[in-house]
C-alpha cells in the first residue's frame, strides 16, 4: 500500500496546483470584470436606474412696468418606450392624436435613428410627439391604457400676451442637433426646449432654470421600487428666473403700429441706463405663431418671405447713417481743433473744391456750426472732414488722420457690435486707412473719401448705433451699452451694462451738438418734431442708397434732462422729415406723456396707414 501511495504522493502538488491555477484564473477574470472597465457599471446603472427628469418652469418675461409679456401654459408630450411598445392599434392611435399612418411610421423610424436621436435607448421613454394641445390630449389620455409603452410627460409651452415684440422676445423650440453638439455641459437632452431667438435665447440659462432629477430604482420588470438611496442623489428642479425688460409695452405697440406697411426699424433707449424702451423692426410677425406644433411650418414660411420678417432690422440691418452722422463729424472736428464753434464755411449749394461737388440745399452761407447742424449743411461737414484728413502738419499723413477719425467713431459705438443682449447683432462698417489703401491702391486723400463726412459712402450703421449716438449726445459724452433686460430675478446684470463708455470728446463740445440739434427742431430740418411742452433735440437723415432714399431721424428729449433717445429708419421713405421726424416725435410724445394727444393719435393713424410700395429687389 505504502509503496504505491508514495509513488503517487507527488500528485498532491499537481492537484493543489490545479486548485491554485483555477483561483488565479478566476481572480484575473474578476479583475477584468470589476476593475478593467466601467462598462459593466454603466450597464448596471442603465439597468437599475430610471432617471425621472423634473422640468423647471421657465421664467416669465415682464415689461418695465411689470406687465407680463411671456408666460407658460401647460402642454403634453407623448413619450414611448420602444421595448414595451407592442400590439398597439396603430389606426386608433393615429386617429386619436390626429396624425397619418405615414407620419406614425416616420416618427418611429426617426426615434430609432441614432443620427437623429443620439441618446436612443429601447428601455427609456423617447419623445414621440411634442406639445399636444390640451383638448387633443384629453382624448388621448382616456385611451392611453390601450397604447402599451406610451406615456405622457407634462411640459409647458410659452405663451405671449400680445402680438408685439417678436424680435426681442424670441421663442423656444426643441433643441437642434447642432445645438446639442455644442452643449459642452451636456445639460440638454434630445427633445428639450431651448431659446431660439431674442432674449429667450440670450438669457436661456437664466430663464430655463435647472432641471431636477429623481433617480428611481427600477426592477427587472420595469416597476419602480422607490428612490435610489432614499433620494440622497435626487436633485430638485430650480425654477427659471423672471426677466424684467426695459421695454415699455405701450411704446413698443405704438412703434410697431407706426411701421405697418413699411420696412424699417425704431429703437428707443433710456440714455442714462442704455435700456431699450422699444425696438421695432418691420415687417414683423405675431410671436404667437411660433408656439406649438406649427412652429416649424410658420418658421419656414417666415424664412422664405422676401421681405425677411425674421430679420431684426434694428440690430441686423446696416444702413448708411446719412446726415445723422454729421453730429459725430462735428464732435470729432471740435475735439481735434479742426473747427471751432464760430468758424464758418461757405456753401454754394454744396461743397465745391478741386472740381469735386457735393450738393446741398439752399440756405444762408457762409454758415457756422450750430446752424450747420440745424440746416444739415453738407458743405460744412465736408470741409470739416477734408481739413482733418488733409492736415499733414497735425497727423503726418492722411492714413494717420484716418486712423484718428476711425478711433473716434469706434469710441462712439460704430464699426463694432455694441454688445446688446440679443443674438445676431451686426457691427456696421467704419472704413479705416488700410481699407482705403487697398481700395484705392494707396492713392487717396480727403476728397476721395469725402462722402463719409455726411454718412454716405462706405459707412454703415445699425439703427441701434444711431439711437446710441442720440443717447450719447443726450448724456453729453458717454453711453451705456444698450440692453433689453432691465433686471433678472435674484440675479445681476452683466457689468458691461453698468459701465459708462466715454467717447473721448469733451462735454463742452457736446453742448454745441445739443444746441445744433435743438436748432434743427426749432427752425431747421426737424421742425416736425417740435412738440408742445417738450424740448426735443433732433437730427434728420436722408440716406442715399440704391433705391429711393431712406428716411432717418435721430433725437432725444427733453433737452436738459433726457429720458428718451430715439432712432427711426424707414426704408425708402424719402427725406428724413417725411417719415423719420414725425414718427420719432410720436414715439417721444408717447413715452414722455404716457399717451398721445388727440391730434397725435390722428397722426399716428395716418402713418399707420401710409404704406410704402416696395419692389422685389433683394434686401
Amino acid at each position: 500500500m505504502s509503496v504505491s501511495t508514495n509513488r503517487f504522493e507527488v500528485r498532491k502538488f499537481v492537484i493543489g496546483g490545479v486548485a491554485i491555477a483555477i483561483v488565479v484564473v478566476y481572480m484575473v477574470r474578476l479583475f477584468t470584470l470589476q476593475l478593467w472597465s466601467d462598462d459593466y457599471k454603466k450597464n448596471a446603472d442603465s439597468n437599475a436606474f430610471r432617471k425621472d427628469i423634473q422640468y423647471p418652469s421657465r421664467g416669465l418675461i415682464l415689461d418695465r412696468k411689470g406687465r407680463i409679456l411671456v408666460y407658460n401654459e401647460p402642454s403634453y408630450n407623448i413619450m414611448v418606450v420602444m421595448h414595451e411598445q407592442r400590439g398597439v392599434d396603430t389606426l386608433d392611435f393615429c386617429e386619436t392624436i390626429g396624425i397619418t399612418r405615414e407620419d406614425y411610421e416616420k416618427r418611429m423610424t426617426d426615434i430609432k435613428d441614432p443620427a437623429k436621436n443620439p441618446g436612443y435607448s429601447r428601455y427609456t421613454p423617447q419623445l414621440f410627439m411634442a406639445q399636444i394641445p390640451a383638448q387633443e390630449f384629453s382624448l388621448f389620455r382616456e385611451k392611453l391604457f390601450r397604447f402599451r409603452g406610451f406615456s405622457i410627460e407634462k411640459r409647458s409651452t410659452r405663451q405671449y400676451t400680445g402680438a408685439i415684440g417678436a424680435h426681442i422676445l424670441g421663442d423656444v423650440a426643441e433643441i437642434s442637433q447642432k445645438e446639442l453638439e455644442e452643449d459642452s455641459d451636456h445639460y440638454y437632452k434630445s427633445g428639450d426646449y431651448i431659446g431660439k431667438l431674442g432674449v429667450e435665447r440670450s438669457y436661456e440659462k437664466q430663464l430655463r432654470g435647472v432641471k431636477g432629477m429623481r433617480i428611481m430604482l427600477r426592477d427587472v420588470h420595469g416597476r419602480t421600487q422607490g428612490h435610489y438611496q432614499d433620494g440622497r442623489y435626487d436633485t430638485q428642479a430650480v425654477p427659471g428666473k423672471n426677466l424684467t425688460l426695459g421695454l415699455d409695452k405701450d411704446l413698443q405697440e405704438l412703434a410697431e403700429r407706426l411701421l405697418t406697411g413699411k420696412l424699417g426699424a425704431i429703437v428707443a433707449l433710456e440714455p442714462q441706463t442704455g435700456e431699450v424702451l422699444c425696438m421695432a423692426s418691420a415687417p414683423t410677425y405675431d410671436p404667437r405663431i411660433m408656439v406649438g406644433r406649427d412652429r416649424g411650418k410658420n418658421h419656414q414660411r417666415l424664412s422664405a418671405d422676401k421681405m425677411r420678417p425674421l430679420l431684426n432690422r434694428a440690430i441686423m440691418g446696416t444702413y448708411p447713417p446719412g446726415s445723422t452722422f454729421k453730429i459725430t463729424q462735428a464732435l470729432v472736428g471740435l475735439q481735434e481743433g479742426i473747427i471751432d464753434p464760430q468758424i464758418s464755411f461757405p456753401c454754394s449749394h454744396g461743397f465745391n473744391y478741386k472740381g469735386l461737388h457735393v450738393g446741398c440745399h439752399g440756405h444762408a452761407s457762409p454758415i457756422n456750426l450750430v446752424p450747420a447742424i440745424g440746416t444739415s449743411c453738407n458743405s460744412y461737414f465736408c470741409w470739416n472732414l477734408y481739413r482733418m484728413l488733409s492736415n499733414k502738419r497735425k497727423y503726418g499723413s492722411v492714413q494717420a488722420a484716418m486712423t484718428k477719425w476711425k478711433d473716434y467713431m469706434v469710441a462712439m459705438g460704430y464699426g463694432y457690435k455694441l454688445g446688446i443682449d440679443l443674438p445676431g447683432e451686426r457691427r456696421g462698417m467704419i472704413p479705416n486707412a488700410p481699407y482705403y489703401d487697398k481700395a484705392y491702391k494707396g492713392s487717396w486723400n480727403g476728397l476721395t473719401v469725402i462722402s463719409i463726412a455726411i454718412g454716405q459712402g462706405e459707412v454703415t450703421a445699425t439703427p441701434l448705433q444711431i439711437a446710441n449716438l442720440a443717447a450719447t449726445v443726450a448724456n453729453r459724452g458717454y453711453y451705456m451699452v444698450p440692453h433689453v433686460v432691465h433686471s433678472i430675478q435674484d440675479g445681476e446684470l452683466d457689468p458691461l451694462y453698468r459701465t459708462k463708455k466715454y467717447t473721448g470728446v469733451d462735454r463742452r463740445w457736446y453742448d454745441y451738438a445739443v444746441a445744433g440739434m435743438r436748432k434743427a427742431v426749432i427752425d431747421g430740418t426737424c421742425r416736425g418734431a417740435n412738440l408742445p411742452g417738450i424740448e426735443v433735440c433732433g437730427k434728420t437723415g436722408t440716406a442715399q442708397n440704391r433705391g429711393h432714399d431712406h428716411s432717418v431721424f435721430m433725437g432725444f428729449a427733453p433737452m436738459n434732462e433726457p429720458r428718451i433717445a430715439v432712432a427711426v429708419y424707414v426704408e425708402n421713405g424719402g427725406f428724413g422729415n417725411v417719415y423719420g421726424v414725425p414718427i420719432g416725435a410720436l414715439i417721444i410724445e408717447q413715452y414722455l406723456n404716457g399717451k398721445l394727444s388727440e391730434a397725435s393719435q390722428k397722426k399716428a393713424e395716418h402713418f399707420q396707414n401710409m404704406h410704402i410700395k416696395y419692389g422685389d429687389y433683394e434686401r
Partner: protein, 486 residues
Amino acid sequence: MLQQETKYPLLHVDWVVVLLYLVLLTCGWLSICGATHELGDTNFFDWEVRTGKQLVWIGCALSLAFVILMTNDKHYDTLAGLFYWGMVVVLVITPFVAKDIKGSRSWVNLGFCNIQPAEFAKCATALAVAKLINQYGFTLSDMRNFAKAAGLILLPMGLIVMQKETGSALVYLAFFLMFYREGMPGCILFTAVAAVAYFVVGIRFSETELPGTLSSVGEFAVLIMIWLFSLGMVCVYAPRTGFVRIFLPLGLGAVGGALAFSRWIVPFDVSWVLLLLCIGMSLYMVWQSLGQRAVRWLLIAVFTLGSTAFLYTADFALNRVLEPHQRLRIQVLLGMNEDDRGAGYNVNQSKIAIGSGGLEGKGFMNGTQTKLKYVPEQDTDFIFCTVGEEQGFMGSAGVLSLFLLLILRLIYLSERQSSTFGRVYGYSVMSILLFHVFINIGMVMGLTPVIGIPLPFFSYGGSSLWGFTLMLFIFLRIDAGRKRRL
C-alpha cells in the same frame, strides 16, 4: 491514552477548517441578506423570509456538525456500505415521490421542509469509494478494481440524471481527481482535459477563417494542439527515441511551408497538411509498436488518432446530435451567440452585477442589480453575484481565497491521514468542493457552462448546506481520530 482521545475528539479537531467553515457560513448568510433584502424590509430573522429560514438551516447544520464530532469514527468505515446502498434506494424512490419542480424530480417533501437526497448521496458515495479503495491489495491500475470504483460512482450519477438533475450528477466527475491521486494514469485525466480543450477551441473558432488560407482557425488550432500533445506524450512516455527530432522540425516545416504557399501562391486548406502529419505520426508509432512490441507507442497512436477523430465528430455532434436549445447553450457559453435576452440573459446579468461592483463594491445591501432582481436565482446558484456587486473585487477575491485556503487545507489534512480510507475520503471531499467552486463561480463570471449547482456554504437551502456539513465534519472526525490508527 487511546481511549481518552476518542472520548474528547474536539481536542483533536482541525480548528483551521472549522474556522474557515464558520467564516464562509457567515459570509454566505450575509450574502443571502443582501440578495433577498427588499427595499424597506429589514427583518432578517423572520421565519417567513429566506434569511430567517437559512438561519434555522445553519443552526441545524451546526448541531449536525457537533453530533458528528461526538460520534465514534470507527462506524464510518463499517457503516459506509449500508449508508451507500441506503442512499441508492432513496435515489431510486425519489423520482416517484418527488414533485416536479422546474422539470426536475429531486425534491422530497418531508412535511416541514423539502430535502434533496442527491446532496447527501455525494457523502455516501465518498465513504463507499473510500472503503472500497481501502481494501487490502486494491490498486486502481487493476482494470477490474478501477471498474468497480467507477461503478460505485456511476450508479448514483445515473440515478441522479434520471431525476433530471444533470448538474448534480456531473459533480460525481470530481471523483476522478481523487482517482488521479490514487494512481489512475494521468493520461486519462489529461485526455479528458484535452478533449474539453479540443471541443471548446474547435467549436468556438470553427467559423473563423485563418488569414491567407481556406481553413478554419478552430480546426487548424486543434490539429496543432494534437500534434504538440502527441509530441509531449512521446517526450514523457517514450523519451530518447529520436521521434521528436524527426517530427518537430518536420511539422514546423510542413506547416510553415503550407502557410507560405497558401498565403503567396495558391490559397488552400492548410489543415490537410496537419491532418496528414498527425496520421503519418500515428502510423509511424504503430509501426514502432509492432517493431518494439511496446504498448505505450500504440497508446499514444490511439491518443493521436482518437483526438483527430474527436475533432471531426464534435462538430458533427453539435450540429446533428444535440437538441437546438442545448446547442444554443453551448454556443452562448462559447461567446458565439450573443443572446442577452434568452439563454445568455442570466450570465450577462450576473456579469453586469459583478462588474458593477468595482474595487470596493456598493456596500452591504446596496447592490442594485441583485436587489432589483435583475439576476435570476440570486440567492441560490447565482449568490456569488451579490458578493461581487456588494463587496466588490476585494470581497469576491477574499471569498475565492477562503475557498482556496479550505481546499489546500483539505489536501494537507488528507495527506496526513494514516489510512487509505481517510485519505481517499478527504480527497473526495476536497474534489467535490473544488468542483462546486470551480463550476459555480466560473458560471456566474461566464467562464463555465451554466450547470445548476450551488456554491457551498453560500447558496440558500438546507440540503446543500447539510450535505457539505455532513461530508466535511465526517472528514474532520476521521482526521481527529487519525492518531489512534497508527
